[in-house]
């Protein structure tokens, strides 16, 4: 995988230089948060073939909890983020424990329904600000030292966390635990007959994914300064699926590429075509599913593999 490493190195250099090249740092932070979210989602869809249709519940509830802790409880950013992760992991445990009882298509419908439950709770709960959401969440000082209100500081902080999480996910997938997950993905009945406690592995993967999604949501709340109902909505759950699918599920870089394309597209289109954004998103879905199932990174990887094969 020399080529892959080269691409990765190039992306890191690009990301480090991006603010110096005059790219709007808040946009980059948003992109990185969604990329992290998509990587967490890919841990489920790509490596355990669990299609969660309600991942916005973890992303959004962590954004709310972090925002609430920082704004009204006077916590610093690190404590706020930890609180967000804890909330998402706990929620992930509850949703996962119910959802892993069913497989495939039912799993998708159950996560969708439970996420809708979370959405309505967020709509009515006293600390979420209802329709308005939480606004002007302060970023504060990291460990009391680094002033995150400076965009450059916040960006490099988000970037450092992103790289750590990306490496962590790589490590998880290549670990014995990750191999068990992939074995379950390939042939679940066989995994059961080998004595693997399938449901427990799936639940652990689900909680891990929820926690990382929570971290992404918490960072998003701090970077952009708000947490709203759209963070917990069905549309956000759909977006993260699209990012993963478009970039290539079951590849490491795919979700990052997919998030890059989707976030850029939205940023670019929302001023120009307005109401047509969902139509375009839907059309990309249709194209991805009918003719482009491997995604961008998956397609490149398979081309590379074909060229390498004759040797």
């Amino acid at each position: 995988m020399r080529g892959g490493q080269l691409v990765g190195l190039g992306l890191i250099v690009l990301a480090l230089c991006a603010p110096l090249l005059g790219v709007y740092p808040v946009f980059l932070m948003k992109l990185l948060c969604y990329a992290m979210f998509a990587c967490a989602f890919n841990l489920l869809l790509g490596y355990s073939k669990m299609l969660s249709f309600g991942h916005a519940a973890f992303f959004g509830s962590a954004a709310y909890v972090t925002g609430w802790l920082v704004t009204t409880r006077g916590c610093g950013p690190s404590l706020g983020i930890l609180g967000g992760i804890a909330a998402a992991a706990l929620l992930g445990f509850c949703v996962g424990a119910i959802a892993v009882r069913r497989r495939g298509i039912y799993f998708a419908m159950i996560t969708l329904a439970l996420a809708q439950l979370v959405y309505f709770v967020c709509l009515q709960a006293p600390f979420t600000g209802g329709e308005n959401g939480l606004q002007s969440i302060p970023r504060g000082r990291l460990f009391g030292i680094v002033d995150l209100d400076r965009d450059a500081n916040m960006y490099y902080f988000v970037f450092a966390v992103f790289v750590a999480i990306y490496l962590l996910i790589r490590r998880i997938v290549t670990s014995p635990f990750g191999h068990v997950l992939q074995a379950i993905r390939e042939n679940e009945p066989r995994a059961v007959s080998l004595g693997i406690a399938v449901d427990r592995y799936k639940l652990l993967a689900f909680v891990l994914s929820a926690a990382i999604s929570g971290l992404a949501g918490a960072l998003k709340a701090l970077s952009l300064g708000f947490a709203t109902l759209s963070d917990v909505s069905q549309a956000t759950s759909g977006e993260v699926i699209l990012m993963t699918l478009l970039g290539g599920s079951g590849t490491f870089l795919g979700p990052v590429v997919g998030a890059g394309v989707v976030v850029t597209l939205q940023e670019y289109l929302s001023d120009r075509v307005g109401a047509w954004v969902p139509v375009i998103v839907g059309a990309i879905f249709v194209v991805c599913v009918t003719v482009f199932r491997r995604g961008i990174a998956g397609e490149i990887e398979s081309r590379y593999a074909v060229r390498k094969a004759p040797r």
Binding site: K49, L51, F53, I98, R101, R102, R103, G104, I105, Y106, A108, M109, I110, L112, A113, L114, Q116, L117, F120, V121, Q124, Q234, G238, I241, L245, A275, W276, V277, P278, V279, V281, G282, A283, I284, F285, V286, C288, V289, T290, R293
Partner: protein, 294 residues
């Protein structure tokens, strides 16, 4: 005036009939989902969008051509069913040999496209559709007043459900359909055009959703987003009832509508989450759902 738990009885009965009306929509929609899933193995996420399109077809028919309610009741589902046939031929056909999650994702995309286009054309606000002349007014039952239109919706939905059940379980066409669900290749070998059957089934299931949309048009606001949250509730209904049984889909739909109506009386804050809570409880108690297997 008699009260139960401090709530006047007519108010309770009013909410219960409203619950029954919603339950009829759940029943019609989950019936269509179950029929489609049975033969195509696809969970049709676009079901809510087709329901919305049915309501809009009636609305547009009235605005543009002065088409009355009774004509819309027949023509709107036919038009939407035709659209469903096109979707099946163009897209769904390519996915039958793949993992069913691709079908879910594709129909999700189609729902987004349909809702986005309607939102661009008609805006996000709701449009009202008049109750037909013949069904205006109320029945005075003595202990409560029952709007005629609500009674009509429940009666019509139950009739359609019963006819569908009869078609599938008791006729030769239904027997062919069930055979195709069981073993499509064998049926094809007997000289039955299975792909045609599949296309027609998708059209029929989608038509049922559109029919629910026309029935709903006078009682809810016709808006591009009317189906997107409904379809999630219907999914929960389907998870609770299990998609294997037609009777299961109908009974669960009605029952959950009633429970939802009752919640509106007792504890209104929980009325839009009660179905999901029940789904979670059922899954903990009986992972396979109330009416059978995966």
């Amino acid at each position: 005036m008699s009260t139960v738990f401090g709530v006047p009885l007519p108010a309770i009965l009013g909410q219960l009939t409203l619950g029954l009306v919603n339950g009829s929509f759940y029943a019609l929609l989950s019936l269509g989902l179950a029929v489609i899933f049975g033969l195509l193995g696809i969970v049709n996420f676009a079901h809510g969008a087709f329901y919305m399109l049915g309501a809009f077809a009636a609305y547009i028919g009235l605005q543009a051509f002065g088409m009355n309610y009774w004509a819309a009741l027949v023509l709107a589902p036919l038009a939407v069913a035709l659209l469903g046939v096109v979707v099946e031929l163009l897209f769904l056909r390519r996915l039958y040999r793949l993992d069913p999650i691709y079908g879910l994702l594709l129909t999700f995309g189609i729902a987004l496209i349909a809702e986005g286009i309607m939102r661009d054309r008609f805006g996000a606000s709701g449009k009202s559709y008049p109750v037909p002349h013949l069904l205006q007014g109320v029945f005075d039952l003595g202990f409560m007043v029952l709007p005629i239109y609500r009674a009509w919706v429940v009666a019509a939905s139950l009739t359609v459900c019963a006819v569908t059940w009869f078609l599938i379980e008791r006729t030769r066409l239904g027997a062919t359909l069930r055979a195709a669900t069981e073993n499509p290749r064998l049926l094809q070998a007997f000289g039955i055009n299975v792909p045609l059957l599949v296309t027609a089934t998708y059209g029929a299931g989608v038509g049922l959703a559109a029919l629910a949309g026309v029935l709903a048009a006078p009682v809810v606001q016709v808006s591009p987003l009317m189906g997107s949250s409904l379809v999630i509730v219907v999914f929960a209904v389907v998870v609770i009832g299990g998609m294997g049984s037609i009777i299961g889909a109908i009974v669960t739909g009605l029952l959950l509508g009633l429970i939802e109506g009752l919640t509106k009386v007792v504890y209104p804050e929980a009325s839009n989450i009660v179905v999901f809570v029940i789904m979670a409880l059922v899954l903990i108690w009986r992972p396979a759902g109330l009416f059978g297997g995966e």
